[in-house]
Point group: C2
Chain length 674, copies 2
């Protein structure tokens, strides 16, 4: 930055709270701390979360304030440094690697760590390895004496595992597997930690025994030297380059040419190759299936939902600090949150963040039950759980990504600055719509389960609890008489149930009709797939609304909090109807008059919740460091921070090279003329 | 990148066309070159565009291949270098600075140039300056002897010009204006070219004469030395730091403390301050109002619509090259474009790109007429034109941004790599929803015009042509009997007209009722603003559908092209109904049976257009260099390019520092154990 006489508007620290923001906090109708405790699952969790966060924030090694100025390589280096330091810190603090503190550590610095897939690598060995393999590899990995990655996805192959091309052929003479990447599309591509870090990889490859393919199996492969990090013989490995975000992670590529590993390196909990080349299957992999679900479920409370909560915090605080235009003629410029259009952008996102938080708790509980069952060898809940988790992963990642972007755009030009924090939140979060199961693929898996349930119901079989309604009758008409009826949860739950039931059923009918008309099953499925995906969304949306309502019933002892959350729940439900009226009216379930009632109730709720908006985001309890946003800090001094942070930008510390090289030769022509 | 034995899958150039892509081109039902000519507005334009593009592409100075690897500072430096070079190149080629070649230059390298606001600076002087001021400043700026910017937006103030705080007080004793930035929120913030380049700025400030405020006026202020680029006395200036994109542009901040400029530096075409401090108003600024509209309109064909066209080109080509999962059991993996869900993502975006292209042509024609009128002192068309342009700017930027992101996500994981080109297209384009008029603000301006028209119609006054339908009766029911009736443009145009008319009218009724019930006008407006914004969208969507249909009528002599564009037009219209059924069914205009017909017709169209998808994107005629995408090149060798480009990433040329510093000390512990 070039400056002749430094501005004197600012103290570099110790801002007082912006009075426009302070005023918002004075009107809180509920105890913010109590709501924070509820969100944390208890006051003790809040205490521990804050303690961990304080440790992290007070350690300069974890400082991420300059991340918006860093190149991909700088981000990577800092993440490696922090990850190595975190391991030490955890030992020092006595935090267990599977304990609650780790979750809170991740909440504080997750976006700025490396070695994330290293943990998947460890879990993979624990899940797929024999006891000997676990004993050999896991301790080395836990201590970071080796760095691992999980190499499954290939350049030309993702979701469809049978399509993977990498091969592992057994050579009985040397008792080795020979791994090969037979084509460019077979290169491993995308694994995290592979690009510049990993020394080892669990490589998934088609197992060949005497020329016969036995399908995908996992192999432990050393890919780089522990001594000098050079690639192992036959290995080509590198970084896949810059991404939309996640540039702290070194996603990589890997190509293998006649790479030999000993027979013991096939992870063999579920199947094994004997020295003579015989294939032996051992036990069910169903339990392992659950492990994949753990990852898919774990994303939501750690990465997905909190990201929307952060975006809401930033955008709502900024919207009471930013003043723009006259609302009432002659008044000072109005807080932008007082405009109905701004409320309609932000408050439904706030309701969504709360709704998904509570709906996830429900899924988590089913999940715990299924996990307990599985340990006893019962796998009955798995199909339902898979359909539910797939669906809620889609809804959560889709709604949260879209919501973050709505928040970002609602901050106008300043939301476009990286210093607002919002572009990074969006660019990172939107990846979750693709990883851990591409959303359209997952929706169709949920739909497949729903169609199966419709058929079961048709044949008189009982249905699992989350889909039991599929065997009920559709209601004809909504019974609401006036707009306040739409604040009755049973009214809107019924509307969502009706929509889901009608859509799942009518799509099942279409599918059946196509098949009966002679269309091949696969073709009929494809021709219904747009509608199947919609039906799955409607089903999950219904579940989320219903579980949000149920969660509130547990809060009876906290009337003030229950009241405000009830408003949010109503808003979440009515926003869904207001924004997708078609599904509720096309068969006459809602009349035009009822749509008008929904609209009026919905708009009324905006005014109500607007008053509590700041306390409701304060309850998420993100520190300024967590948010890392010039717009969203607790003190509301958005303009001062934007200016302070901008001054630190490297673009202001470049010297005069561009001027001297390109501009001076031109500008000097004007000297004589001005 | 670390590599032991280099892969041999690749030649570094001269790929043959991927047979999966080649096959798509063989089925083209129309002459692609002819469609390209139509899009260009004639074969001669196509020829000139290609000639200009070829000149740019053959000049290594304009090479942008490495842009995905560059830091903000590198991007800026390269953009300055290219811009200076482009000026030379244009002289060398004899291309006029206002000629058609410049448009084609921008198409080729726009995203990688600096000095873009410099042109706004020049236009501002031409529009607001006196003849003497134009004669003094414009030649200097045209030759780049000075670099200018347009400093209007402030840190705390955007849309609402009356809220701007910068002051300019006249000092009659020295015949100077004294400019000041009275608070931090008054700093100029965001102007392009200001951060590191500009020597001069047109600064908008509240004019004070003898203590009385005369409102916003433009002042020419030198902000940096031409000799050494240091800030002028009293000036604080710098770069606002990293953004979501546009990092080639040095958006800046500017603070002024008692900066004095001579009286002659107030741009004085429309008003002047005499030596005695007297204020003199001269003529109407309405013509200047049109200049702002020129900028807003100019974005669409140069930046907004082509960006969606590029994204469609990349995603559709990739979708016939990418194979994933079995569609028909036992077959090879299917091209992902053969999945209905993929078609439903991409093909409506393709239809939108074509639809907006043709609808823009209509707006452009009205615009030309208004411009001619204005020169004759007639301003009658301006309010209509303003409402139309505001609305179409919103629709185009919203739909194109959303569409680009749909295309990006439809490319799965690889769409997340910067090398796909897609993240950059989105991150850049989405800014257009905010700049040149924030979209919600613009929608409400369009709505204000519509409400005024409803009142005029009510009072029996005639309405301008684009809104004449607001005085017609609403039709009761859609007359379609079977699904193919929805391929009749008059049927869907009527449906869109009905929706717009009902929504504009019902919102006007609500507004009026609120006011009559005693709610203050400003408050009533705010309480209707969500619905007003929706009504404005419905109005503009109707216009776009109608103008798309009309554009096709001009293509009667080209039957094959007319036929395929008719399919796209149908798809655009039916996609809008399918995705927003509510607006069409809530008052019973469409019955449930008709909604089902729309759905079936819509899904049928996907199958039809899928066959022509590649020829339809080829017709956009982007070169590989224009696209700069590893996924979307003409030859369809997506995987090879991803690999070739990734190898060039700086992350693969960092040496062993991170390993030696952080990892080696850990890994050496494993040496004895493995």
């Amino acid at each position: 930055m070039a400056t002749q006489n430094e501005n004197i508007f600012l103290n570099s620290s110790g801002y007082t709270v912006n009075p426009d923001l302070e005023a918002e906090r004075k009107t809180a109708s509920f105890n913010i701390e109590l709501l924070t405790n509820i969100l944390d699952g208890g006051a003790e969790n809040t205490r521990m979360r804050r303690a961990v966060n304080a440790v992290i924030e007070s350690d300069p090694e974890f400082n991420i304030q300059n991340e918006y100025f860093q190149s991909q390589s700088e981000k990577y280096e800092n993440s490696v440094r922090r990850s190595v330091h975190l391991r030490k810190k955890m030992e020092e603090m006595g935090w267990s690697k599977n304990g609650p503190e780790l979750v809170y550590c991740y909440r504080a610095v997750y976006n700025a760590l490396a070695f994330n897939v290293h943990r998947v690598f460890i879990n993979c060995i624990l899940g797929l390895g024999s006891d000997e393999q676990i004993a050999k590899w896991v301790p080395l990995a836990e201590k970071y004496y080796i760095a691992g990655t999980y190499a499954q996805t290939e350049l030309g192959h993702g979701t469809y595992l049978r399509g993977l091309e990498t091969t592992a052929a057994f050579d009985a003479t040397t008792q080795e597997f020979i791994l090969n990447t037979p084509s460019i599309s077979a290169m491993k591509w995308w694994p995290g930690d592979l690009g510049q870090t990993a020394t080892h990889a669990v490589v998934f490859a088609q197992l060949y025994l005497k020329g016969k393919c036995y399908g995908m199996h996992p192999f432990m492969v050393q890919i780089r030297s522990l001594r000098d990090h050079s690639p192992a013989p036959g290995v080509t490995v590198g970084d896949i380059g810059p991404k939309m975000s996640f540039n702290n992670v070194d996603n990589g590529f890997l190509s293998l040419k006649n790479v030999r590993v000993p027979r013991e390196n096939m992870l063999s909990r579920f199947s094994q190759v004997l020295p003579n080349g015989q294939y032996v299957k051992k036990g069910s992999e169903k339990i392992n299936y659950l492990t994949m679900m753990v990852i898919r479920a774990g994303m939501l409370p750690t990465e997905v939902i909190p990201t929307l909560m952060k975006a809401c915090t930033i955008a709502i605080r900024y919207s009471v600090v930013r003043r723009q235009s006259e609302l009432k003629p002659g008044d000072q410029e109005a807080k932008i949150l007082d405009y109905q259009t701004q409320q309609e952008k932000l408050l439904p996102q706030l309701a969504t963040a709360y709704g998904l938080h509570f709906a996830y708790n429900y899924v988590h509980n089913i999940f715990q039950k299924a996990y307990a069952d599985t340990k006893e060898g019962k796998f009955d809940l798995l199909p339902e759980l898979h359909a539910l988790l797939s669906g809620i992963k889609v809804i959560a990642t889709d709604y949260c990504s879209a919501g973050v972007e709505v928040c970002r755009r609602a901050c106008g030009g300043h939301g476009y600055s990286l210093l607002s924090g919002l572009p990074t939140l969006y660019n990172r979060l939107v990846a979750s719509c693709t990883y851990e199961g591409e959303n359209t693929v997952l929706l169709l898996q949920t739909a497949r389960f729903l169609i199966k349930c419709i058929r079961m119901a048709h044949d008189g079989h009982p249905l699992p609890s989350s889909v039991a309604y599929l065997s009920s009758k559709t209601s004809e008409k909504c019974k609401a008489q006036e707009k306040r009826d739409f604040l009755n949860p049973s009214v809107y739950i019924e509307a969502y149930r009706h929509r889901a039931l009608r859509n799942v059923r009518s799509t099942a009918v279409k599918l059946q009709a196509l098949i009966q008309s002679g269309v091949a099953q696969y073709e009929a499925w494809n021709r219904c797939s747009v509608q199947l995906a919609h039906a799955a969304v409607d089903h999950i949306h219904y579940i989320v609304v219903e579980k949000f309502v149920h969660a509130l019933e547990d809060l009876e002892t906290e009337a003030a909090i229950q009241r405000i959350l009830k408003h949010l729940c109503d808003l979440f439900a009515l926003h869904g109807i207001f924004s997708n009226t078609g599904g509720f009216v096309q068969d006459g379930y809602l009349s035009q008059e009822q749509v008008d009632m929904v609209t009026e109730s919905y708009l009324d709720l905006l005014t109500i919740i607007r008053k509590h908006a700041v306390p409701l985001v304060d309850a998420f309890d993100f520190t300024d460091t967590n948010l890392n946003s010039a717009l969203g800090s607790y003190d509301g001094q958005a303009y001062q921070r934007l200016y302070e942070w901008a001054k630190k930008s490297p673009t202001n510390h470049q010297g005069n090279r561009v001027f001297n090289t390109y501009l001076k030769p031109l500008f000097q022509n004007a000297l004589s003329k001005l």
